[in-house]
């Protein structure tokens, strides 16, 4: 974890409201694991006041470049999308615990399950897993073809299945509809997306004792580093007697059985 300034290299829309931003950082800011995030100061005013958490989408270690993909939601991301090449932005990070490698090294079949703006962080994870010679399948869900993005990137990692709510690309339905129960023998899954989706995935696999799985969560944050107890998630008391863990510092990624969504 470090605080420092990054220089914006590019900041352009991928799709309506979805931006890709590349920044150049100092050395230590780029030592990031898949699933970690940066806490970004979007302006030099007190309104909006708080930083905004954005996950790492890709890293170019040689050139010390970080890529973020974010959707414009409100005040903070609106300001972010106005940054121009050459502008400086203040980053705090990398923060949190990212996606762990599969615990057992003989589990080689991995599936990435992403919904909407939850998809970008899975890309750097996928790249990382491919490097370590895991076999990666990606399941991606969007609202529509119009709102889809990053498909080529995921195709470059391996098999990629797409679902859209309106059926305009891939199958019609959600990410869960991309799972063929009979055929898919994934040993590990990693998922990021809206809470409802994560909950459905958790339920789907909860009683499958052989699967290992990780969920990347979002919660409203204050400090971003574990000091304020603002971003807690309820955890199953079998896993932690304290009842709550912090998304910012204990997560954002949790073993899927631990958290109560």
């Amino acid at each position: 974890m470090k605080q420092g300034l990054a220089t914006v290299l590019r900041n352009e829309p991928l799709k309506e409201r979805v931006y890709r931003m590349e920044v150049k950082v100092e050395d230590s800011l780029s030592l990031v694991q898949p699933g970690q995030f940066y806490y970004i100061h979007v302006n030099d005013s007190t309104a909006p006041l708080l930083r905004r958490p954005i996950s790492i989408h890709d890293v170019d270690l040689n050139n010390q470049q970080l890529t973020f993909i974010y959707r414009v939601e409100g005040e903070g991301t609106k300001r972010l999308c106005q940054k121009k090449p050459g502008d400086l932005i203040d980053l705090l990070g990398p923060l949190g615990n990212g996606f762990s490698d599969p615990k057992l090294q003989d589990k080689r079949k991995v599936v990435l399950i992403g919904g909407g703006i939850g998809i970008p962080p899975l890309y750097y994870l996928g790249k990382h897993l491919i490097e370590k010679e895991f076999q990666v399948t990606s399941l991606l869900g969007f609202q529509s073809k119009q709102e889809s993005f990053l498909i080529d990137e995921f195709l470059s990692l391996g098999e990629t299945r797409i679902a859209t709510i309106d059926g305009s690309l891939g199958i019609k339905g959600t990410v869960l509809d991309l799972i063929h129960d009979q055929l898919d023998d994934w040993q590990v899954f990693y998922s990021c997306g809206p809470k409802g989706m994560l909950r459905a995935i958790q339920q789907k696999y909860f009683f499958d004792q052989s699967i290992e799985g990780y969920l990347s969560l979002e919660e409203r944050m204050g400090c971003g580093i574990g000091a304020c107890y603002g971003c807690v998630v309820k955890v199953d008391s079998n896993y932690d007697p304290k009842g709550y863990k912090k998304v910012c510092s204990d997560g954002p990624v949790f073993p899927f059985r631990e958290v109560i969504l």
Binding site: A227, V232, K242, Y244
Partner: protein, 306 residues
């Protein structure tokens, strides 16, 4: 040369007037990874209660213009765990430790005060009579002078260290609260705690916070904090630790002018985790610009306006 930033809170000498506001710094472990906590004037830890508390459901945080709302709900591991696991670690920084204590009943407060003030590392108790988040008597302690008086008196009787009472701004008459706890023997005041506020989410049409309402902190409340300190300063003779929206050395000076003898920085830590060391460094420059020798000379100077 004398340390220009040195201030006194009663007999307690602080090397500088900057400390974290309770609840905004955990037990210091996270910020200790970023800088040496010895730099701080004092270390103030989260509210400690008798038993462990799990706090409120989430969302616990919402943003507002130049401010934020929190409804953490006093999540903490309870006084025994704080004494065993946190204070010994914190004592390595050889910086005065102030423990914020909270409770539901007078007996709870008394029990926590008794235990925690017996720990040699603890320099001072900050009595949180004002946390608006817990659905309990908490809010009454902080809004009724008589109840605050009784609580302060009971805690003073058992405490082996000075007791500062942290006042709630959600009152009609802050001066009567301040004078009541002074009369009860409070060694000083901390002010202000958060104002009660809320936000709504247009999509869900519900309050953003699971707890519906939360405590408003940050720069938005600074003018209210300054006004309350200013009013209280003229009416008490015990020192005031000022807080509420401080983000810069200039803000610190404003709090001194209003009547503070030291200050706490809360929400600003979330925006810039290095804000406290930066303020400490900046203060000397600002004192130079103002032509002031000791920062302590400024306490209450804002009253000399005629």
């Amino acid at each position: 040369m004398k340390n220009r930033l040195e201030v006194k809170l009663g007999d307690l000498v602080l090397k500088n007037p900057i400390m974290p506001a309770s609840g905004c710094f955990g037990y210091g472990r996270e910020y200790a990874k970023l800088y040496d906590l010895r730099l701080l004037g004092a270390i103030v830890v989260k509210a400690t209660t008798l038993e462990e508390r799990l706090g409120n459901p989430t969302p616990r945080i919402a943003e507002t213009p130049s401010g934020m709302l929190n409804s953490i709900g006093l999540q903490n591991p309870g006084v025994e765990a704080v004494i065993k696991e946190e204070l010994p670690w914190l004592s390595q920084f050889q910086t005065p430790i102030i423990v914020n204590i909270a409770g539901t009943l007078v007996e709870d407060y008394v029990a926590v005060a008794e235990k925690i003030s017996a720990v040699p590392e603890v320099a001072m108790i900050e009595l949180n009579i004002s946390c608006p988040n817990v659905k309990c008597g908490g809010i009454t302690f902080g809004t009724d002078p008589k109840v605050a008086y009784e609580l302060t008196k009971a805690v003073k009787e058992v405490s082996k260290v000075p007791v500062y009472v942290k006042l709630s701004p959600n009152v009609t008459d802050i001066v009567s609260m301040a004078t009541a706890v002074e009369e009860a023997g409070a060694d000083g005041l901390s002010m202000i705690n958060t104002l009660i506020g809320m936000r709504f989410d247009l999509k869900t049409r519900k309050p953003v916070l699971a707890n519906q309402v939360g405590g408003l902190s940050g720069p938005a409340i600074k003018p209210i904090a300054l006004r309350m300190i200013y009013e209280v300063y003229k009416n008490v003779s015990i020192p005031i630790i000022g807080m509420g929206g401080i983000t810069s050395a200039e803000d610190v000076i404003e709090f001194f002018l209003a009547g503070a003898s030291a200050v706490a920085v809360g929400t600003a830590n979330f925006i810039d985790p290095y804000v406290m060391p930066k303020i400490i460094q900046d203060l000397e420059r600002v004192l130079d610009e103002m032509g002031v020798g000791q920062i302590s000379e400024l306490t209450g100077e804002g009253w000399n306006y005629q």
